[in-house]
Structure formats: C-alpha cells, structure tokens
Amino acid sequence: MNMIPATAPAFKPADYKSSVKPVWCPGCGDHSVLLSFQRALAELALPPEQVAIVSGIGCSSRIPAYTNCYGFHGVHGRSLALASGLKVARPDLTVLVASGDGDGFSIGGNHLLHACRRNIDLTYIVMDNRIYGMTKGQPSPTTEPDWDTAISPGGTGLSPFHPLVIALASGANFIARGFAGNIGGCAKLIAEAVRTPGFSFVQILSPCVTFRPDQQRGWKDLVHPAAVPETDDPARAARRLMTDDGFNIGVLYRGKREPYQPAPKAYLAPSHLEAEFAL
C-alpha cells in the first residue's frame, strides 16, 4: 500500500502551491495549515490533478484556491455533502475537505453526523479557532461559554461542542487532532488521514490572531502529544475523548470500518431497461 512506482515523479510541497495570495491575516494559523496540506500531498506523492479539495465558507474554507489541485469553494456548511458526491462519482480521486468550527459544526453539523456514519473515503480537516473570524468575531459551537462578544454579551453560557466525541459516536474511522503551529506534525496527520480508508477527521487547532489573540500565546504551550498510543477500540477511544483536555495531539482513534463506495453493477445502455415498460 502507498508504494510509489519507481518512475513516479517526486513532488515538492511547492508543486501544490497556487499563485493566489491568501486573504488571511498575518499570523493566522491557517497559513501554517496550508503549508501542512502541501507537505502532506508531497509526502503522498499525489499528482495535483488527482486531488480535489472541497470547502464551504469561512476563513479556513478559502484554502482550495491557494493550492494547485482541483478545488471547490461551495456554500456555507455543505462541503461534506459536495465532497461525498464527488468521491462517490469519482472514487479514483483523493478528496480532502477543509472546514472551520462554524462551517463544520454549526451550519454543517448534520452533514458531519452523516458523513461519519456513511464513512466515505474522505479526509475532513477542520481548522478550529473557536470563533467566526470572517464575520468579525462571533461565538462558534466550540467557543468557551464566557467568551464575551457583541452578539453574546457576557458569553453564550453554552457548553462547547465536542466534535471528536461526536465524530466517534457517528462512526468516523480515523480521528486525530493537530496544532497549526506544528506544520510537520499536521502534515503527518493529514497524510495518515488520507492513507486510512474511510472517513478521516482531523481537528487542527488554528489560532485566530485577530479575534482570539489569547489563543496564539496560550495554545502553543497547552498542546501536548497524546499520552497513550492510538487505539482501534471505540469504547476506549470514547473514554479518552470524553476526558481529554482538548489539547491532546496525535492520532486518537483508527477504526477498521469498510468505506462506503456504491458502485455500478453493469454498463448497459438505458434502452435495455425499456422492456419493463413494454406491454
């Protein structure tokens, strides 16, 4: 598996870079995630035209145009559905999905459940900065309850969403967490996610320097490698994910579910089906 033919060209991260200049703020974690994407694809030695990167709306969802792969920057919250259709129709492609905590967990929450349940061979990368950045600082499902914003004075008072637990309970086959500041580490996680068949979910803590400047300083010191090796036991993974501090980095679960890939049974011309109408 993943053998590179001797004749295959070697790819460099720069081969996946486009000429489009990112709109992200200087210092945004998403710049680093973009570099991780490029390194992962180079490590996987995938020709850029064999890769499609699908996204929704938000800062993180801008990523497809910054790569030299095929890309789809769709509507808010629906990237997993779009990517599912693409992968089912084109199983030969490598399909990655880029999202954020608002796009993926709020407006797109239902699709996350069903993408995990369906277990199509997709890699879902959520750049989680616990804020809506593009609309200038509203709380997302992963924002702390006391975070004060204009739309939620004094904080939302709501418990943050725990995406990895939800993903596990819904059937995701690979679950990992990374920190944007560790470009090499995230690249490895992304490459592992792509290599693992089925639905792979990678949460990347990606600081928002503009609306959550506290994160940039804090997260670097808070993240730590997962203390125990990865597991394929969902019950064990559930206990770990339910009790982790949100800063465990690494592969946290790798299951053995078969991916969902409906396939044609035959290639008849439609006229062959006409008999069912004929009297």
Binding site: V20, P47, P48, E49, Q50, V51, A52, V54, P64, A65, N68, C69, Y70, G71, F72, H73, G74, V75, G77, R78, A81, L82, A83, S84, G85, L86, K87, V88, A89, R90, D92, L93, N110, H111, L113, H114, P262, A263, P264, K265, A266, Y267, L268, A269, P270, S271, H272, L273, E274, F277, A278, L279
Partner: protein, 573 residues
C-alpha cells in the same frame, strides 16, 4: 356534447381496501383488450386507513388526462368517500355501484342524480374463502363495461402471481361472482379494438422522467424522500447501477443538491428529484451551480403549496420559485413536461441543456403527471448531441471561465492534468480566482447570461398546434385537458391555436411573437392561485391586448369542459 369515445371509472374505498391494486388490475385488463388508458391516484395523507380513489379513463385512442365527469363510481365502502366529492364529478348519466351494507349513501352521491346499483359486495367476498371485496368489484366493473372476465382474471394472475394457486382460484371465483351479480344498467360499452398491445408502454410520469434522464446520460443521483417525487429516486436506485451510475440517499435536500454538484464537478451528469419544500431548501446551492457553472438537473414534482400544503395532490404553483427563487442575478433553465409521456422527452432534453449550457435546469413536473400511469404508444427515440465542452489539451493558463462569444467555456474535470481550477461561488475572474472587482463581476454575469441568450433551444421550446384568431397559451400539466377542449372546439367549428411552453426560462420572446402571428385573442391557462404563469408572461412577452388569464389553484384538475366553456363563451369578467 360530442364526447370522445372514452369511459371514466372511479374506484373508492378506505386505504388498504385494495382500491389501487384493483384499479391497476382493471387498467391491465383493459389494455390487454386493446384499449389505451390513464390511471391517477388520489389519497389522503394516511398510509393506511385513510381514503383512496383510483381514477381510470379507458379509450380506444391514447388519453393522457381525465375528462369532465365519471361514468361509473364504484364505492367499496362509504368511509370518507365525501372527501372526494369535488374530485369525482357525477351526473344523471353516471352510475354508482355500492354495497347495501355500507350504510347510508352520502348526500353528495344521492344529489348527483346518478343511477344506483346495489350489490352486496362484502357479503359475496365473505362467502368465498380467501377472496377480497376488490376482486368482486372488478368482476362487476368488467361486466358493466364489457370487458371479458378472462382478461380480468389474467390480469389478477399477473398481479398476484401464478405461484399462489389458492389465492388465484379465490380471486377468480370472486371476479365471476361479481360479474354475475352486476346490476343490469345501461352504460355505454366501449368497443374493444382487440388490437395487439405489443408496442405500447405502461409508464408513470415519474418513471418516464427517470428513464428520460437516464437516456440523457445521467450517471449520478442524490435525493431525499418526498411526496410525490420519491418514485423517481426509487426507480433510479434500481436502474442507475445497471447503466453505470449510482444513487445516494442524502440526509436532507441541502445534502442532495450539494452531492450532485460535487458529482457533476467530477464529470458525472447528475440529477436530483424533489418537491416544493425540497426545492426551497436547495435554492442556495442551485445559485452556487449557476455561479460555478455546474450542469445539474433538478426535477420538482410539484404539489399543492405553500409549505407542506397538500403533499399528495397537484398544483402548478412552483413556477415563481423555479424562475425567481435564486438570489442575485442567476440565469438558469426551467423546463416543464406537457404530459405524462412527455416527462420522458423533457427530462432527456433537460439533461442535454444542463450539460451543454453548464448550468442548472429545473424541470417542473407535478403530482398529476408524476403519479399518473398511462398506456401509450411507444415514444419515439430522441438523440441529442450532448457534450460538455472540455479543454482539448493541457495548457498553461487554462481559464475555466473564459469569456467566450457563446458564453460557454471549456470545463475540465478532476484528473485532467493542467486543467486544475477552483470552482467558486465567490465572484471570480476567467481563471476562477476570487475577485471583488466590478469589471470581473460584470464580465462573468454577462457571460452566464450570454450562454442562455445566444443558445438555439430549437423546436422543443413549445408545442404549437393549429391556427386561429384565438390562442390558448399554457404550460405543463394543463396542456392535455386543453388539447381535449380544443379538439372539441374544432369539432364544433371553432378554430383555436394551442401554444404550450415546454421551456419556461429563459423566455423566448421572438419565438412566441412568431407563434402569435395572426392571433387576436389569447387565453392564458394555468393551475395556480395567483396567476404565476400569467404574470411571468406579462413580464417577458408582448401579448395581444385582448389577453385573459384563467388561473385556478389545485388540487382539482382543470377539466376539458371548463376550458371549452371559456373558449366558446369567453371568460366571465
């Protein structure tokens, strides 16, 4: 009134009593005797225990809409039959067959003035172990309309299967008992042509739409169950994998539409089917498909709205959302089949338009077409030269959204080296790169509009029939009853021109002006409360000064006789 040689029969009963199966069996028996036919269904929202009516029209020539009245109503029971009072017009020349044990006959039936024949159907069924009241009813109907009992029994055997000899024997006895007990009445009997039915099809509008789309080249379908569109998805689920495609049941309509966008981006001609509520959910992403120029077909099998409305009954009231539902300036195509059988042609054509123009096509079918079954002569084969324009070879600086003269630009698909681009809902330039500059915005708006403006939609844009100073202008499922009314009018010496639009958007003002040459008076006919089609025509076309709208909401079908009255006597102010 010189009616066409047809017979209209309604079978009613509580849900689960076997009304629909019996109706289908009657249609099968009649068509095996050389007749053509139509069967529509009317039900309440209940799955079982509600009310159900099978409405059948038989004729020696093809019929694709109901007439003005029913010759025969056979009521298995009277449970909730009054809910069909408006849908089942009866008169003094009609016959009602009912069971004396069913209780007091509802007032609307008595008031119709129809002859009444009482047969103890339940008692007869009870006396034959393993039989059903619906089989007794079939025997009665066969005798009354002059169908051989053997044809009915053969159709029953076809339906329940020859592997169940006991059930078949009981049904046969019940059919014969019903026939023997049929009231002696004077119902005009249809001449049975006994022509071979080989070469004819039995098909529903939803099946025809699905088959047409398959013939058009659809390879991917995603959908979410919704009445009355689900049968398109169910038929596709079995058929598509036989023809190199796949179907995915999505978690909701937001997912269905985005899944087909993804699949089509990947190169697979793609389709979803839904009804009004689902179309509402899809509109944001349909706009994305316009902006990113992704070919799609969305079949909307319309039902009475707004909101949940009457999910099981028809209306032509999604025209506004189909044409105007997208935000921004979002030119796209809207088509509408003109009959049950025409669902095939229109779906195939819709795929062709979507693929060629790289844009979403919304096809407006409706419940009265989709869930109706017709027996028709085999439709002719159509071939469209459908091809998505693709880049010829890898080139540096490939511009996915190049502003060409036709507005159509080469669309590469993933896997094609050198064709990489990011499809985007953001305003983009010719390369697909996001931009917020006015010149790029205008260039791409112009390009997308130009695709539709400069395209030759050809002869399929409308069905035009006859000449006359009076034209009736209509669309979709209102066309067949209109055809019948016009045939009557012509038989009575009144010339009327029929113009039925299969292409709703983009408007074709030049073509309609040509079609209206010599026409002095126009009636615009549609099934909506607010006159959506009328307003659409007024916005986009020049109609003669003497133009009058007739718009009535669903769920009652527009009857040929009503239309004939408007044609002959004018429209009351």
């Amino acid at each position: 009134m010189n009616r066409p040689a047809s017979l209209s029969i309604a079978l009613t009963g509580s849900g689960g009593a076997g009304v629909m199966t019996a109706g289908q069996t009657l249609l099968d028996a009649a068509t095996s005797s050389g007749l053509y036919g139509l069967m529509t269904r009317s039900t309440g929202p209940q799955i079982r225990g509600g009310e159900a009516a099978a409405m059948i029209r038989l004729s020696s020539h093809p019929v694709q809409s109901h007439g003005d009245r029913f010759d025969i109503l056979l009521a298995l029971d009277f449970d909730n039959v009054e809910r069909f009072a408006e849908e089942l017009p009866l008169d003094s020349e009609s016959l009602i067959v009912a069971d004396p044990a069913a209780g007091e006959m509802p007032a609307f039936l008595k008031a119709s003035g129809a002859a009444i024949g009482l047969v103890p159907m339940a008692q007869l069924a009870k006396s034959i172990a393993g039989s059903r009241i619906s089989m007794v009813a079939l025997g009665i109907l066969a005798r009354i309309i002059g169908l051989p009992e053997s044809a009915v029994i053969a159709a029953v055997a076809e339906s329940i299967g020859r592997k169940k000899p006991e059930a078949l024997a009981a049904s046969e006895k019940a059919v014969m008992a019903g026939s023997a007990a049929a009231p002696e009445v004077n119902v005009p009997k249809l001449a049975l042509p006994h022509t071979p039915r080989a070469g004819r099809w039995s098909i529903t509008g939803n099946e025809a739409a699905a088959f047409g789309a398959l013939k058009g080249g659809v390879k991917f379908v995603a959908g979410y169950p919704i009445t009355p569109a689900t049968e398109i998805l169910e038929w596709m689920a079995a058929a598509l994998p036989q023809c190199g495609g796949v179907l995915v049941q999505a978690e909701d309509e937001l997912a269905s539409i985005n899944m087909i966008i993804g699949a089509s981006f990947g190169g697979a001609p793609s389709l979803t089917a839904t009804a009004g509520p689902g179309l509402s959910l899809m509109t944001e992403a349909i706009g994305l498909a316009v902006a990113s120029e992704i070919p799609l077909v969305i079949v909307d099998v319309m039902r009475s709205g707004p909101s949940t409305g009457i999910a099981t009954k028809s209306e032509q009231s999604d025209l506004n959302i189909a044409v105007y539902g997208l935000h921004g300036d979002a030119p796209h195509v809207v088509t509408a089949p003109l009959s049950v059988a025409d669902c095939l042609l229109t779906a195939q054509w819709s795929v062709h338009l979507a693929e060629t123009l790289q844009t979403p096509v919304i096809m407006l079918s409706d419940q009265s077409l989709g869930q109706a079954r017709v027996v028709i002569d085999r439709p002719g084969d159509l071939a469209f030269a459908t091809q998505r324009l693709a880049p010829e070879a890898a080139s540096v600086g490939y511009a996915r959204y190049a502003t060409t003269e036709s507005g159509i630009s080469a669309m590469s698909v993933p896997g094609f080296p050198g064709g990489q681009y990011t499809a985007d809902g953001l305003t983009h330039n010719a390369r697909g790169t996001p931009t917020s500059q006015a010149k790029d915005h205008v260039a791409q708006l112009d390009k997308r509009q130009r695709k539709l403006d400069s395209f030759d939609f050809g002869a399929h844009w409308a069905e035009i029939d006859g000449e006359g100073e009076l034209a009736v202008l209509t669309w979709g499922s209102s066309t067949e009853p209109l055809r019948e009314a016009i045939a009557e009018a012509r038989a009575g010496g009144t010339d009327v021109k029929l113009i039925a639009l299969r292409l709703i958007a983009p408007a074709q003002p030049g073509r309609l002006t040509a079609a209206l040459a010599g026409v002095k008076r126009v009636i615009v006919l549609e099934q909506s409360h607010s006159g959506q089609f009328w307003r659409y025509l007024r916005a986009h076309y020049d109609l003669p000064k003497d133009a009058i709208p007739i718009h009535c909401p669903g769920p009652l079908p527009i009857r040929p006789g009503e239309i004939l009255t408007y044609i002959q006597q004018g429209v009351p102010a």
